[in-house]
């Protein structure tokens, strides 16, 4: 039987890739030698191009469209005629006196850390498209998500963990690397409604072989993979698999300990409300407390981008009951996370981002209605830590909360701002694909909201 000769052709692009990133041919030369764990790879910690204010992002993704007018954007009644606005009571909190609703009592105690963006707006009130745009900048096509872009721009800070972790996620496109090398794709933990209290990375441990022998085995696999790849150099997927094999291998050393929260003191578990899930209407049990605790632990371990998910905030009916449940599920864990990050000195370079794909129109008090729809014309995000002002409000909506009127921030501006805070020049962070340069902020580009920088 004939075996095909190996073609020696190597493209310029591949050569550049391999040499600049180091790993390319090292594996071949490492064929017969023991290799140290954590060798250099394409994920080396690259240097940021502008001074970075933040080193990592924790994105608290509130899917379904959280009702901003009953959480962070206070719209009291004005004039004689009742109009849509807030239906839950608000009061002022912290030294900054931010208005926060009674549904968020614990988060309210962290008011001086929050930077409210009350003038958010987006293009569409369709969940799927807006959710996609929030994550990727594009409404329709498969595009890399924010976490993938950040890891592409900065590389990883911990060789033994993925640079991008997505907890309790249901939509692969929200952690997709799309056309970016798939090594920048997020690693999901807890997918498709899996019980978050048990969620882990499957097969993260295996004691069937001593670790040194496992490494020796992987060296053989990678040598075979390099040979296989040598006549298929155009195929980025093969390179991505080679890298993911390395990362998977290295994760065995760090991840199991990180995912095991049993060594946390009971008081910490209680502050985060680990294991306390509320299930009511649209509010799904997500063990949000464990997610936030894991987020803190991943942040400490150097994961660049951590997405934490809760939903659904899409309370078309039973607005009051379901919104209350959603707030109750998330309020204390978020507060505990902010508190812990600050106490550990991590908040100053960890950017915490809270928000969903859009917001909701307000209810009119006392008119008996308890249902809301979607509103992409004006809604709220908040940021904390990572070089942004605390106890600050940027932007506003009109008196019924229907439209952003001042300090308008579009998703692409939010993306630009996050990238900028991470030390990446948002509109210059591009990737060439299908004949043109793509960027997260799209053809329009995003405006960095410098007013909120501390």
């Amino acid at each position: 039987m004939n075996v095909r000769p190996m073609s020696p052709k190597i493209s310029r692009r591949h050569l550049l890739h391999s040499t600049s990133c180091g790993f390319g041919f090292l594996a071949l030369s490492a064929l017969c030698q023991e290799r140290a764990l954590g060798a250099a790879s394409a994920l080396t910690d690259k240097v940021a191009k502008i001074p970075a204010r933040a080193k990592r992002v924790i994105f608290l993704c509130m899917s379904g469209g959280p009702a901003q007018l009953d959480t962070f954007d206070y719209k009291p009644q004005t004039g004689n005629k009742k109009h849509p606005g807030s239906v839950f009571p608000f009061s002022r909190h912290g030294e900054s006196g931010l208005w926060i609703s009674e549904l968020m009592p614990e988060t309210a105690k962290q008011a001086d850390k929050l930077c409210l963006l009350n003038g958010m707006h987006a293009d569409t009130g369709n969940h799927a498209q807006s959710f996609h745009q929030l994550h990727t900048g594009d409404r329709l096509r498969s595009r890399p998500s924010l976490g993938a872009w950040i890891n592409y721009g900065l590389g990883t800070a911990n060789q033994n963990l993925p640079g991008f972790v997505s907890l309790n996620t249901a939509k692969p496109q929200s952690y997709s690397s799309a056309f970016l090398p798939s090594v920048y794709q997020g690693s999901p933990i807890g997918v498709n409604g899996e019980d978050m209290s048990q969620a882990t990375l499957p097969n993260i441990t295996g004691d069937h072989l001593p670790v040194r022998l496992k490494r020796r085995q992987l060296d053989l696999i990678q040598a075979m993979n390099r040979e296989h790849q040598s006549s298929r150099l155009d195929d980025d997927a093969l390179e991505a698999v080679i890298e993911s094999m390395e990362l998977g291998f290295r994760m065995q050393t760090d991840a199991p300990g990180l995912l095991d929260t049993s060594n946390e003191p009971a008081s910490v578990l209680e502050r985060y409300r680990v294991g306390h899930s509320v299930s009511e209407g649209t509010c799904k049990p997500s063990d949000f407390g464990r997610q936030c605790l894991l987020a803190r632990r991943f942040a400490e371990a150097g994961v660049r981008f951590i997405e934490v998910n809760h939903g659904s905030w899409d309370q078309h009916k039973n607005h009051r009951r379901d919104l209350k449940a959603n707030c109750e599920s998330t309020d204390a864990p978020v507060a505990a996370l902010l508190e812990d990050l600050e106490q550990r000195g991590l908040l100053e370079d960890t950017l915490v981002v809270w928000g969903g794909e859009f917001g909701r129109p307000g209810l009119t008090p006392e008119d008996g209605k308890d249902e809301t729809g979607h509103n992409a014309n004006g809604f709220t995000f908040w940021l904390a830590g990572g070089g942004v002002k605390g106890g600050h409000v940027h932007g506003s909506t009109d008196e019924t909360g229907a439209r952003a009127v001042e300090g308008k921030v579009h998703f692409r501006d939010l993306h630009a701002t996050i990238l900028h805070l991470m030390g990446l020049p948002a509109n210059d962070l591009t990737y060439h694909y299908e004949g043109r340069n793509h960027r997260l902020t799209g053809p329009e580009g995003g405006k960095v909201v410098t007013e909120i920088f501390a």
Partner: protein, 782 residues
């Protein structure tokens, strides 16, 4: 002219283009205006900018060319030939604080049409007298996928000796037009792997590869044809292609999380799986296949076996994931919505489901169409079974009682340990006694309600707020001559619906299926959004080829899926090498022109099957039933239900939200939505599966053990045998040395943990075998 395809209703409502106007502008310009610009003006602009508008915005009328030239209070809106200087375009682009339409920016392609139109000089046939009235769906009817399927003549190509089949002419014409040249033909040892895996999902053995290569050396394409025919006749064909359809059918053996964390088993769903596999193996014509799934219960049957088969087929409509009934007034409509979504995205390639609450913003599906379809399903009773005896989940229903399969009672001594509980107290509840003998063969499915009726529109999707009653019918965007309303009022109308779907002149049905089949053989679709042929979907890369194939599928292949698959794999395009020269790849990195074959990763099922093949543990017989066939329970209360199996992956238990652990890492669909194209990710969890999972570790050990039994002493021979067994090829230079070196190292490192020398030798060889199983060569198919 394009508007000839508009529905009769549109023609009646719209004045034809006045003669004078038509003379003023060229037919091409006129066609562009009529198909792209007028519909957009009607849909997006006339609400505020027409003489008919309730309140005129910005004193700007857009009713005629003259109006446009005149402009509004902001001045002129058009600079003909200069889109960038035209206020109209700036407004559509939402530049400089002028955002039109104000609520939501137009889709990019629509803006691009306006830009093009202005650049053309804004040719406008409309005169003063014309009344701009048209239904909103007219944009729709100009969308390519709603146009009748054409039968294009294969194009001429410069190289007229290359094509094996007219299909190749369409492809080659595109390759030539792009200034590319096709890659060489795949070497036989590549082609044989591709054919086995694509047609059966199983890899060829070393001997099968060798036999084909020899045959190919003797008789070339004759050998290919013979192998293709053999593989199409293999029962493994249906197991492979049936699984592809199960992705489309959002197949699952449990309900999946109902929103209240309850996940009830569907103990009889596996019968539908077996039906689908058998349908592919018996080559049921696609139109018949669809008809059985939508209206099998209404079809005549020659005997009990046929009757049972038809009933099981309707499981397609019953096995969707359902949200909890508790506190959910819309539950019945949720079930219908899943059915409409499965038929819409799965068969028609159109997402109809958004029209449940409002007129579909971009696709041409008005809410009335949705409820016309809903009436059909509302007149249908869905039988999902006992849904784990939970009234709050999907309350128990009847099931079809089958006549021909054997009665298989639970094994002696079987006692269900996962029992339903009272929701308030948590106390165990008694399982309701069935009136049927234990083990009675049952099937999920549908049947007609006794009193079929038209549905009423649920305002904003709320079942409590009812609007107009809508006569049962179909999608008005699919314009075909003949009836659009269900005539038969004494039945649900499902059979007529199936007949409508399977009409020869249906613009979507054949195109969508041809594209699905193409996708599985070529790694990407001609329309690469296989479940969405609507406005949001991708345009076809080869529209003529798509139509040619759809026509051929219908006329020549007589809707035979095997026939179409055979035709495609015998094309030269399919048989191209996946390795091409650098410039071809550089010019067409995404392989839009098919100048080479796309390398693909095996899917979850094929990876597991191939591992079991390598260890010679695969039981090639069909798996019988399901591990949950006697268990009406809540999966979430049961813990891990999966059991080791040696059957092919398609026979594992596809519980929603609790997928088989051996398949889960490799992008298995979740079974809640139609999934015509799986993701292909490269995640570290996959690496961890290959390196650490009990399954791969065990199969490696078994493989090592078997190899050692065959040739216990000779390490070089063992290495060669392992490579032949796993990769079905001869070792490369140095490859066996590399193996023996690893095994020697392993032996040293395992010395203390494994004092027994023969056991240690087995483990050491297992380390090597696992390496082969984890390699890219094993998982990727050229």
């Amino acid at each position: 002219m394009r508007w000839l395809f508009y529905p009769a209703g549109f023609l009646a409502l719209t004045l034809p283009v006045p003669e004078a106007g038509a003379k003023d502008i060229s037919p091409e310009d006129n066609a562009f205006f009529e198909s792209r610009i007028r519909p957009a003006l009607v849909k997006y602009c006339y609400e505020c900018h027409s003489s008919e508008s309730k309140k005129l915005g910005g004193k700007l009328l857009l009713d005629t060319g003259e109006d446009l030239r005149k402009g509004g209070e902001s001045g002129a809106v058009l600079v003909a030939g200069k889109p960038d200087d035209s206020l109209l375009i700036q407004a559509l682009r939402w530049e400089d604080n002028l955002e039109m339409p104000p609520k939501e920016q137009l889709p990019e392609p629509v803006i691009a049409d306006f830009v093009k139109w202005v650049a053309m000089g804004a040719p406008d046939p409309r005169k003063k007298a014309e009344v701009p009235v048209a239904p909103p769906s007219i944009t729709a009817t100009s969308h390519w996928s709603f146009q009748p399927v054409k039968n294009p003549t294969p194009p001429e190509t410069a190289n007229d000796a290359w094509a094996f089949d007219p299909i190749d002419q369409f492809i080659l014409a595109g390759i030539e037009a792009a200034g590319l040249a096709p890659a060489g033909d795949a070497p036989p040892e590549t082609l044989v792997r591709r054919l086995y895996l694509d047609l059966t999902g199983l890899a060829p053995t070393f001997a099968q590869v060798a036999a084909f290569v020899e045959d190919h050396n003797t008789r070339g394409r004759g050998a290919v044809e013979a192998l293709v025919d053999e593989l199409l006749e293999s029962p493994h064909f249906g197991e492979r292609w049936g699984r592809h359809w199960l992705d489309v059918a959002r197949f699952g053996e449990s309900n999946g999380n109902d929103g209240l964390s309850r996940n009830a088993t569907f103990p009889h769903a596996w019968r539908y799986r077996d039906y689908v596999i058998a349908a592919f193996n018996r080559d049921t014509p696609y139109v018949r296949f669809i008809t059985e799934q939508i209206a099998g219960d209404l079809l005549p049957a020659a005997d009990d076996a046929e009757r049972d088969r038809n009933l099981v087929a309707t499981g397609f409509l019953a096995l969707g994931a359902k949200p909890a009934k508790a506190m959910n007034e819309n539950f019945d409509m949720d079930v219908i919505d899943d059915q409409i979504a499965a038929v819409g995205s799965g068969i028609l390639g159109i997402s109809v489901a958004c029209a449940r609450c409002h007129d579909h913003k971009h696709d041409p599906i008005p809410t009335r169409d949705y409820y016309a379809l809903a009436g059909i399903f509302q007149s249908t009773e869905t039988l999902w079974g006992f849904a784990a005896h939970e009234k709050l989940t999907a309350p128990p229903t009847d099931l079809h009682v089958l006549k021909t399969p054997a009665l298989i009672p639970p094994p002696p001594g079987f006692v269900e340990t996962v029992v339903p509980t009272e929701s308030d107290t948590g106390k165990a509840r008694e399982i309701p006694k069935s009136t049927l003998p234990p083990g009675t063969p049952l099937a999920m499915g549908v049947r007609d309600r006794k009193e079929p009726a038209d549905a009423r529109i649920n305002l904003k999707g709320e079942s409590k707020k009812l609007g107009d009653q809508v006569p049962r019918g179909y999608l008005t965007a699919c314009v075909m001559p003949g009836e659009t309303v269900v005539e038969e009022k004494s039945s649900s109308g499902r059979l007529e619906f199936a007949r409508w779907l399977t009409r020869d002149d249906h613009p979507l049905t054949a195109r969508v299926m041809v594209n699905r089949i193409w996708l599985h053989l070529f790694g990407q679709g001609i329309v690469d959004t296989p479940d969405d042929f609507g406005v949001y979907g991708n345009d076809p890369s080869h529209p003529e080829l798509l139509d040619y194939l759809a026509t051929r599928f219908r006329n020549e292949e007589k809707w035979s899926m095997k026939g179409l698959i055979r035709t495609l794999v015998l094309s030269r395009t399919y048989q191209l090498d996946s390795i091409a020269d650098e410039s071809t790849i550089a010019k067409d990195p995404a392989n839009q022109r098919y100048a080479r074959h796309l390398r693909r990763r095996l899917d979850a099922e094929a990876i597991r099957d191939r591992i079991l093949q390598a260890s010679d543990e695969l039981d090639p017989r069909p798996g019988e039933g399901s591990i949950i066939r006697h268990r009406d329970i809540l999966v979430n209360k049961a813990g891990d239900l999966h059991e080791p199996s040696r059957h092919r992956s398609v026979f594992l238990c596809y519980l929603r939200n609790s997928p088989p652990p051996e398949l889960a890492p490799f992008d298995l669909p979740d079974g809640t939505v139609v999934k015509g194209k799986r993701e292909v990710s490269a995640l570290p969890v996959q690496a961890l599966f290959l390196l650490n999972s009990p399954f791969v570790v065990e199969q490696s050990r078994i493989l090592a053990r078997k190899l050692l039994l065959d040739s216990p002493a000779d390490d070089q021979a063992l290495a060669s045998a392992a490579i032949r067994r796993v990769l079905a090829r001869e070792p490369l230079d140095g490859e066996t040395d590399r193996a023996t070196s690893l095994v020697r190292d392993a032996d040293v490192q395992l010395h203390d943990s494994h004092p027994d020398a023969s056991l240690r030798r087995e483990v050491a060889w297992a380390v090597y075998c696992q390496g082969l199983l984890a390699s890219n060569e094993f998982r990727y198919i050229d």
